[in-house]
Amino acid sequence: MESILTFDSLGFTLAVKLVAVVAFFLLAPLVVGYMEHKVLGDMQSRVGPYEAGIGPVKFGVGQLVADGAKFIQKEDIIPRAADKWVFAAAPAVALVPTLLILVVVPFGPGAWAENLDVGLFFALAASGVTVIGILMAGWASANKYSLMGGLRDAAQLIAYELPLVLAGAAVALQAGSLSLVDIVQAQGSASLLGLPVWFGIPQIAGLALFFVAAMAELNRPPFDMPIADSEIIFGHMTEYTGIRYAMFMLSEYAGMVVLSALAVVLFLGGWYIVPGTTWPYEQLGPAASALLGFGVTMGKIIILAFLMVWARATLPRLREDQLQTMAWMVLIPLALAQIVVVGVLEVVA
């Protein structure tokens, strides 16, 4: 299947795909961020943003837009002792990998920018580059809290990268492909003991550890030890202000969207509505099915993002040793066991 964003002219196709990916990259984090504001407010028995609105719609929907405008106006301060070039480049290095992963994520039938033969591998490889931006920020700030935050973050990302990759490998094994589009389509007809299921049921352990590792990759609470405000101010972001700080924030929320999208694509049936059937996409035209698929995928992404916010509001922060123990003693053995289970199921069933 071709992407619906494909046109006769190569240049025009390229431009449309670029605009679509960048627009989604800038807008989806706003939706998730607004959801976090409101849900966190509700869970803490307060209202959350209420006044800022877009036009007649109030209830704080314009809060993040206003925040963005504020960040752009702020002075862009680079500390005198900082390493200027590395300091300035770090937010971009942390941000770009997330944008790159969006290129291969399929949101609906035909609603993707590129269907790479090795899409899953590409997504996992790109997500590993983010840590370089964070280490650059931590080192170049010339601040001991920044450096400690950067080091904690690097240790955490190294530990949680492995479960992420291993959980992805188990999915690729069951789907028989590394292409994210093929993985979704394989879930249209996947079954376990005769029951129609998505990969999330036989690989429930994989889904759980992928989700936990995703939260850890994003430094989301309860895995926010690298930016623990009560210990090291704000980790690698301590010295950042204005637009560069906003870029770090954007990479966190865009990361929430992207890793949730990957979890949806790998485990939760992508754009399909009911397990075991591809209804109603056959009955619809290409544009309608792409639109419906996009809506369904976004709905699932929002549910996963809600779970991340819920975890943030509920769970206390993990300590360094608890964090490492969890990754190496629990998640990685679990991921290896998951691969064995899937391998046996693939051969036997």
């Binding site: 002792a81 900082a82 390493d83 590395v86 790479l116 033969d117 090795v118 591998f121 590409f122 996992l124 490889a125 790109a126 590993g128 580059v129 840590v131 370089i132 280490l135 650059m136 931590g138 080192w139 170049a140 010339a142 450096l147 950067g150 080091l151 690097a154 240790a155 990302l157 190294i158 990268e161 990759v165 590394l178």
Partner: protein, 203 residues
């Protein structure tokens, strides 16, 4: 010149410039960061030669893991901001060896493939898997075995001391403080560091 050749050339130029900067940079962290650029350029040239899987493996393993370990190690030990004194007395020898190796490899490549045009085609992950797991299955298993052995060797080296194991469960705070040996009085005070013999929070 066609577009693929132009892209390939730009990848090679960027990669070459970055590798030169790796060895000439006055700051060791800058050198590691230039190495990122050099390794990504290698991945880009893999991509233009049709080896898609290899390109992303290069990014995942070298940029995502090896460089991160290098940076992690540098920052954990010593990595001041600003230029650092170079203690390398082998610069000239290293330059001679590098130039000689480059000339030898270029000469060998030109001698063996000179003037030959190769039809470029993309190698899919499936094809690569078939070659790796069917045709080269035995060397692949041997390599895996070798890596496992080196992993276990690293573990043994890291935990060489007798009877060393995981730390005992920490008891209440006072017990730990009481069991702790008093700090040696003749310890050289670290400039700017905490006063020796005084635990944090014991004021």
């Amino acid at each position: 010149m066609a577009a693929p050749e132009l892209f390939m050339l730009s990848a090679l130029v960027v990669g070459g410039a970055a590798s030169l900067l790796v060895v000439t940079a006055r700051n060791v962290v800058h050198a590691a960061l230039f190495l990122v650029v050099a390794l990504v350029s290698v991945a880009a040239s893999f991509l233009w030669l049709g080896a898609e899987f290899l390109a992303w493996a290069q990014v995942l393993v070298y940029v995502g893991a090896v460089i991160v370990l290098i940076l992690f190690g540098l920052m954990l030990t010593r990595a001041p901001i600003g230029p650092m004194a170079q203690h390398n007395e082998n610069r000239k020898l290293a330059a001679i060896v590098a130039v000689a190796l480059f000339a030898l490899l270029t000469g060998l490549n030109v001698a063996s493939f000179g003037g030959e045009t190769i039809e470029l085609r993309t190698t899919g992950a499936g094809q690569l898997g078939e070659v790796l797991y069917l045709q080269w299955a035995f060397p692949f298993v041997v390599l895996g075995f070798l890596l496992t052995v080196s992993l276990i060797g690293a573990l043994v080296l890291a935990r060489r001391e007798e009877g060393e194991g995981p730390l005992p469960d920490p008891g209440p705070h006072e017990e730990i403080a009481a069991a702790r040996e008093p700090a040696p009085t003749d310890a050289t005070p670290i400039p700017g560091g905490p006063t020796p013999g005084r635990e944090i929070g014991s004021r």
